[in-house]
Point group: C2
Chain length 205, copies 2
Amino acid sequence: MKRVAKKTITRSLLYIRILEKLIESGTHIVSSKQLADMMGLSDVKIRKDISNFGKVGRPRIGYKTFELKKILEDFVLQNIVHAVLFGVGNLGSAILKYPGFHQDRIKIVAAFDKDKSKVGKKINGVSVYSVKNAVKIISKTHAEIGIIAVPEKHSQNIADVIVSSGVKGIVNFSPISISVPEKVFVRDIDLSIEFLSLMYEMRHK
Amino acid sequence: MKRVAKKTITRSLLYIRILEKLIESGTHIVSSKQLADMMGLSDVKIRKDISNFGKVGRPRIGYKTFELKKILEDFVLQNIVHAVLFGVGNLGSAILKYPGFHQDRIKIVAAFDKDKSKVGKKINGVSVYSVKNAVKIISKTHAEIGIIAVPEKHSQNIADVIVSSGVKGIVNFSPISISVPEKVFVRDIDLSIEFLSLMYEMRHK
DNA sequence: GTCTAATTGTTAAATAATTCACGGATAAAG
DNA sequence: CTTTATCCGTGAATTATTTAACAATTAGAC
Ligand SMILES: NC(=O)c1ccc[n+]([C@@H]2O[C@H](COP(=O)([O-])OP(=O)(O)OC[C@H]3O[C@@H](n4cnc5c(N)ncnc54)[C@H](O)[C@@H]3O)[C@@H](O)[C@H]2O)c1
Ligand SMILES: NC(=O)c1ccc[n+]([C@@H]2O[C@H](COP(=O)([O-])OP(=O)(O)OC[C@H]3O[C@@H](n4cnc5c(N)ncnc54)[C@H](O)[C@@H]3O)[C@@H](O)[C@H]2O)c1
């Protein structure tokens, strides 16, 4: 199968969300132009993205919302994503309590913290465990992604724990780069950099 | 001045952070290769990025950490960034309490919520106001960026408030696209999409 | 039926970003 | 003072992504 551009994948995930909303509201047909307006993109880009997955629209009509959603899902989603969280602090708690992940088929199956007062608690149905038991619990839960929400000085240590449990994907919220083996994929989410680069863009355009 | 690539800007912001750490630890000289290893990038990319800002390194030696930091800052930073936050919920509170923004010269100068039980409180030194007073307070504080951390069904409404206050930059944490005039810049931070696209990458590489 | 206007899908062109390849500088060794 | 190994800077090549241009399709008007 042809390699699909990374940006096409992230946009396709957004299309799926919009299509869900359209379907829910009873809309059966949508054109690339309508989708484009809803998302602030160009219609060509949307058609180009979709063309990666086959010929699914009809000229003069548009796309059937349900059919398009199905096709996109078949290519870019599959199952529920299981994740474990490290660090049940301010950010970690917000993540645990966020209901949107469930809607997007992301399930947090366990959380870990080194603070004994947090271990044993349940937040939004998710149990908080001691980091000592992480490897054991992760292998039991078949988690696929580890979330790092601990203070940066502990991030590498937690990354090592995640790697040693066999998990191959990490979402890292701490503002430092972690070292992992090549076969482990890391997504860094750095909020400060988002603010600062937005600021740069505002000043230079 | 030559236009600098967007990705070069975000990486340069990361270089600044690493350089700060190196300077703090007493390191005076660093090579592109060392920086590359610390960040998981290639050394060429780092040299190419830096070359946008002039000839600052010395062959056979490397870069003076302090000098490089200064030059990068002159190009990609300037002042403190002032932001206002809408929605003091789980995520909004985490943002208010995060000390890292201060280190990165981002200052949250006011927060707004529609929940009366939150209005009047102070979180980490930041006062929470009623949304009704937002335009007035924003113009007084000279905020440059508005942060949207309200439930998605209110996001467009809050975006309109932010725009009508004259603020030209928005960081949007809600999982929907907001409509704003062309001259307003929006950065969408969509956590679900990060998880799902990471999952895709893990399955296809 | 024929025409028209709308909309898709695709090829080609343009733009953006990365990687390669290597020349030039220079500190340190001898 | 010459050699050598190292590291920077950069033009050219490659790869990735977006945008433009347009042919093909077809529902609906007439
Ligand atoms: N809060 C934000 O808005 C925000 C923004 C950007 C980045 N971050 C980053 O996210 C991370 C978490 O931020 P936060 O604000 O939630 O911090 P926090 O201090 O509120 O929470 C950190 C949690 O991690 C736990 N912890 C510490 N060491 C641990 C370890 N070794 N193993 C397991 N748990 C451990 C602590 O007990 C605490 O519960 C930090 O790296 C921070 O830089 C946070
Ligand atoms: N918590 C997360 O981890 C997470 C992850 C991804 C996205 N998000 C998004 O971030 C946003 C906030 O999430 P959250 O978990 O903090 O939600 P939350 O429900 O905990 O907090 C929302 C806050 O916004 C306030 N609010 C509601 N309507 C408002 C209005 N019109 N004006 C001002 N304030 C208003 C509420 O009073 C509440 O304090 C949501 O859009 C959510 O989809 C959150």
